[in-house]
Symmetry: C4
Subunit: 211 residues, 4 copies
Amino acid sequence: MEAFSDGVIAIAITLLVLNLQVPHVKDGDLFDAIVDDWTSYAAFVLSFAVIGIMWVSHHSMFERIVTVDRPLMFLNLILLMGIAFLPFPTSLLATYVREEGSNAHIAAAIYSTAMLAIGLAFLGMWLRLARRPELLIEGIAPERIQAAIRKSLVGPVVYAVTIGLAFVSAAACFVIYALMTVYFALGPSSRVATPEEQAAAAEAAAEGAED
Amino acid sequence: MEAFSDGVIAIAITLLVLNLQVPHVKDGDLFDAIVDDWTSYAAFVLSFAVIGIMWVSHHSMFERIVTVDRPLMFLNLILLMGIAFLPFPTSLLATYVREEGSNAHIAAAIYSTAMLAIGLAFLGMWLRLARRPELLIEGIAPERIQAAIRKSLVGPVVYAVTIGLAFVSAAACFVIYALMTVYFALGPSSRVATPEEQAAAAEAAAEGAED
Amino acid sequence: MEAFSDGVIAIAITLLVLNLQVPHVKDGDLFDAIVDDWTSYAAFVLSFAVIGIMWVSHHSMFERIVTVDRPLMFLNLILLMGIAFLPFPTSLLATYVREEGSNAHIAAAIYSTAMLAIGLAFLGMWLRLARRPELLIEGIAPERIQAAIRKSLVGPVVYAVTIGLAFVSAAACFVIYALMTVYFALGPSSRVATPEEQAAAAEAAAEGAED
Amino acid sequence: MEAFSDGVIAIAITLLVLNLQVPHVKDGDLFDAIVDDWTSYAAFVLSFAVIGIMWVSHHSMFERIVTVDRPLMFLNLILLMGIAFLPFPTSLLATYVREEGSNAHIAAAIYSTAMLAIGLAFLGMWLRLARRPELLIEGIAPERIQAAIRKSLVGPVVYAVTIGLAFVSAAACFVIYALMTVYFALGPSSRVATPEEQAAAAEAAAEGAED
């Protein structure tokens, strides 16, 4: 399951480049054409970061899983569907975000909805794991799973809010999506640490403080 | 063989997103353009579910296989060809299903034919395994393989019927394809359980009943 | 190296579907449009079989390899470049083979050249392995490597001939490409058997004769 | 992390073929159309070689890594973003390099910038590993990491120079990119050898001298 998921995520992240179109312009106009198309590059970087971080979260969840039952498998397929779908709203957002008219609002609302669905699938997987801790490796404290669930709520809540915000400003949504990737990248890790890892993390933190 | 198959299936499932086109419309028309194109999204979800379930069946078959002989390898390549081809009839169906004219009939008949071919390849693989049980891991009861063969007949029979039905109603075919994914997802598992798994499944069922 | 090669081959084989275009025709014309486009489907099946068989040969070669030196690595990259390139001449052939004019000749000559290059890369890899048998697993008899080299000559010789034949008849080339896949699929295995495999193969052949 | 990276690199290298367009010309014109489009084929070969060599470097770096910390993971994601992006500047370069007008200068400057970013990500990863040698397998001498860092400087320095050169001659940049792949392919290996490998390499070199 994990190798298949990794494959789907790796393909989705790499297909993002197909959203970038070579402009066919006459001599002297290429620089302007590319600058004009800056939202495509920004959306590429955004969705690359988004999917990259999802891969990290997904990988760290599956490092803790021993076996997968049916509900977990279907939640995972829904999660992968969301990720495999993401190049489409990325392209939609890139095309319309600059206009700031009603098309931009729709595009941002669709991007937010896709992110919300992916976030809910992640949350659903942790909820399932909380109910079936025997699917996890041994030695994972229940409060750690509860912490993972709480952290998994951040995404869906924020992305639900951006569905509404989309109808005010698509650009503001774009900024929030970008801030969310920074939060997930630099914020508190959503890893469910094993006891060994906690010890290692504490040690690393101590070392980091000395830097 | 399994890693290669997993790769092909993961790529085919992710390429489905390339069937989704960003509509280029003037301001205010994006919502309608996307609603108008709902068959593309429905076909994306359908084929994602179809390929996802095929991956589950394929993976669970290969978990039981120790070595692959030539006929099994060629049946597997035919199976993969069918799966890799699926984004094309998906796009065909998405384009024509709403029309309910003769083009829609052709599109649905082609989708059904592709599904029939994939179903027959699965069936052929189980028939080969029934004849060469030494290719399987030890301890798999012959009646379990017979059960897998019987279950593998459901797909080809239904998809053969939908080839005819396609010329009556493409929409009805679409609904049946969707119901088939629900059946394969929630219906009786087509896994050929090992003795250990049967015991585990019985236990899980007992637990599930308590929920 | 093998996982990376498998990935490239799996992606190239699956990208072939992108050569299939949904025809946009008015009601009643879809069947004819698809029949008209039969060379695209034939080319899809051909190149899927071609790449599928290449994967089998590549995989069976790498099963015998313990370590990869630089020349082998670069030969392998050239081989992968040929395989990754193949969707392009496939599309070229599909577009022009029916015309039987000079464009068809060029298209077939390019397909043949790509196949020749791939065949030469395979041959080069076996020649390198013959010179550095320490890169192979132990117990592989030198005469087996010589047999692999002789078998690896079949492809390049035939494909070199089809470069010339292309300027007579592109359709004849197409038929020869198809026959070559049948030959490689059903003809004498190009596997370099380990001693254990030879014994197993002899046993399987004996069993097969009883069928 | 390595399997995911391998997947992204394998997909990016294979997606390059999508930059090759089948020309739709009337009979007799295909050969000229393809010859006219030679920059597309040259750019395909160039970027295939570039990404192929990056894979080799990346793989050989990860063979030395035991665990990945956060900074290393993000540097690796930036590296993958650069590689996944490369099909776009490849297409840009193929489209405009022949013109030798200001569009060609922009296209070459963008290709150089992408290569510079990838080179800096590689350099950043080695710098991180130099600071956290505990992330590496045991027995790697610090001077070997320093050598890897020095070798990792070659790419960024040359590609930074080609950003300037792009505004003089895009064709000259193209030649330098090609020479760089030859240098990385045939030049001094950037592998950080383990003690065992150094011994093996010395032996291989001695053998090579006898050829």
